[in-house]
Point group: C2
Chain length 385, copies 2
């Protein structure tokens, strides 16, 4: 039994054996009250520096580590943020499957840590019992489907939710998304300027916002410029289906002379399909795809890609969420959250605040008829340093 526990007069019968030192032990050892210890360690209250440092030293000596669980219970803050990615197909996660998710998650983790929060990776399926078992201060949801029951449940129970991807019909505290329409229009214009006469699209069958908005933008553009739409769809989560769809697109009688692929692997798939049909890129076929992968910088030829800037998105999403958690209204310091708890905030205030982030088109040889000058270091003979 600890001497401190003895003095504190708490457990007279049960002897706490080798447990970690608690705040009581520190208080007893330093000859002060628990209040003083708490204040000293947390920098609150009014204490002379001498007491503060003495308490800190005693705590250090005893190896005192405050119990996160107790603190969470008392303060209602866990410092934990959920990160949820919608699941496609059998696998529980597409997490880190595509470069976009991986980079976004990394940026989000980093941003959260920078503000003292940690990220918990959670499945989108609410049946996993783990959801109820974790005290979350808020949640980031990537690409929530319409009417997501999980998001509704979270929001209803007062947990702030910020989504990456404009939510369909579920209530969120805030959302961040790319300006997909502008991105697609920009690409179509870019291809037109490069000489494309008939631009095709490789798109997905699912109904998520990204796919929907991008496809609509394409169709709208076609209607405006008077081009017959030329597109193929496939289930985006199935890599094999992508190659087949790429092949299908180039096999059409009205074969396009330029293609934009909405998903990461489309670039290599389209390149392979073009090769099979003996089409030269960019001479016979202009190519652009949406990807965060840098392999497209070294393909033959390098492929123009659209970056959704996942790092920026991840950072923004997390910062928005933490702002909501801490009740900061973008720097005004007004404690909005306390005045209007989340469950009431949208009542009558219209749609939740959304932020549109710009994308970046990384132009490479595949989308330029006149291929840009590439810097190639000349081969050096062996032996030369």
């Amino acid at each position: 039994m600890t001497a401190a526990a003895n003095q504190s007069g708490r457990r007279p019968t049960t002897s706490r054996r080798l447990e970690r030192a608690g705040i009581r032990d520190v208080a007893a050892a330093a000859g002060v009250s628990i209040t003083t210890v708490s204040d000293a360690l947390n920098g609150k209250g009014r204490l002379p520096d001498e007491t503060r440092s003495r308490v800190r030293e005693v705590a250090e000596r005893l190896g005192y580590r405050p119990s996160a669980a107790a603190r969470t219970l008392r303060t209602g803050r866990s410092g934990l943020i959920g990160l949820t990615v919608t699941t496609y197909g059998e696998e529980p996660f597409t997490f880190t499957e595509f470069a976009y998710f991986a980079e976004m998650a990394r940026a989000a983790t980093s941003a959260a840590l920078g503000r003292g929060y940690a990220l918990v990776v959670l499945p989108a399926s609410s049946r996993h019992d783990v959801w109820g078992n974790i005290a979350l201060d808020g949640t980031v949801v990537i690409d929530p489907p319409d009417q997501d029951p999980l998001v509704s449940e979270l929001y209803r129970s007062g947990v702030p939710v910020v989504s990456d991807g404009k939510p369909g019909n579920c209530p969120v505290t805030a959302w961040v998304d790319n300006d997909h329409e502008a991105a697609v229009l920009g690409i179509l214009d870019h291809l037109s300027e490069a000489g494309a006469r008939r631009i095709g699209l490789l798109t997905g069958t699912s109904t998520d916002t990204y796919t929907r908005l991008s496809t609509e933008a394409y169709l709208g553009w076609c209607a405006k410029v008077g081009q017959e739409p030329v597109y193929e769809t496939y289930p985006a989560h199935d890599p094999a289906a992508g190659a087949v769809a790429a092949d299908r697109l180039l096999a059409r009688p009205d074969r396009p002379d330029a293609v934009y692929g909405l998903f990461d692997p489309n670039g290599t798939d389209l390149l392979a399909a073009a090769r099979r049909y003996g089409l030269r890129v960019p001479e016979d076929l202009l190519l652009v795809c949406c990807s965060e992968s840098d392999v497209y910088a070294t393909t033959e030829p390098p492929i123009t890609t659209l970056s959704l800037k996942p790092r920026k998105i991840g950072t923004t999403v997390v910062n928005l969420l933490i702002d909501a958690i801490e009740g900061v209204d973008s720097g005004t310091g007004v404690d909005i959250a306390r005045l209007f708890p989340p469950r009431f905030r949208t009542a009558g205030t219209g749609p939740p605040p959304g932020t549109l982030m710009p994308t970046e088109l990384i132009v490479r040889a595949s989308s330029q008829r006149r291929s840009p000058r590439t810097t190639v270091s000349p081969p050096r003979p062996p032996g030369e340093v």
Copy 2:
């Protein structure tokens, strides 16, 4: 004020406004005691099914969600597992930077979730205050450096730690690693059989276990077969340095006719370097590199890779950790953890239990002089389905 809170007689003065329903509210609404509610919901105690279902129904109706914080405080279990990856260079994480980490993390997340735990991504630097703020049941550490203070601290405070990568000098509950020596020897034999006369190595400057063991295995093999070692080292976290080192290796007067690269990007780097020197792969240069990326299946030519099977590793690590947390001794059901808390378990019992996992060599064209028959679908004319 809730009627239940009124009846319970607890807070007579302060009115709890719109807070979530607690276990007391459920008890009051169901006309039973708190004990009964807890037992009914957790499937403990001895209760008739009628009471159990009635309580469950009331809880459901009230939207009762047990407080994770309170449960954690009471039971000492949070259901949270830390996932730490050592940081190289400036970036806070290499998390998901390499395919190995990404896949390993995904498998670990999945395995944890399957057993009712969630993963928290944490930085390896202990100065981040977030470490002390989270109740962790255990931690997975990827590739801990020798004498890692963080691991020591965790282990000392009784938190089980399982590492991916054989730990140098820090005490862990268990560890999992590949049999790097066997893997390297296997590759060297494979290259020899393919006709290699002088095998080179592209390796790293850092002292982590993987780099060290692999390099030592190479040197040992060289000594055994009487080949002069031919290798170049570079800081593995610097992508640009890899290309330079690859170039250096092929520029040597004693240029190797086969190379094994220890890191993921080495394949493309070596391929590019070979091209610069006019070396044909595999005719003039045999190539193997360690990578989880499937881009090497489609390079020109496809490159033979060594897979460390990160999914298997991630799953094993997590299961080992949870076994330790729950005190399960690999199925015997003996509660070892309770009998011997972690801090005493290594006293005299020698090194912590380690598991060596096999690797997999994925043989492709780059390491075979007689290139294997490749199945290439002949180009189909457009219009044909």
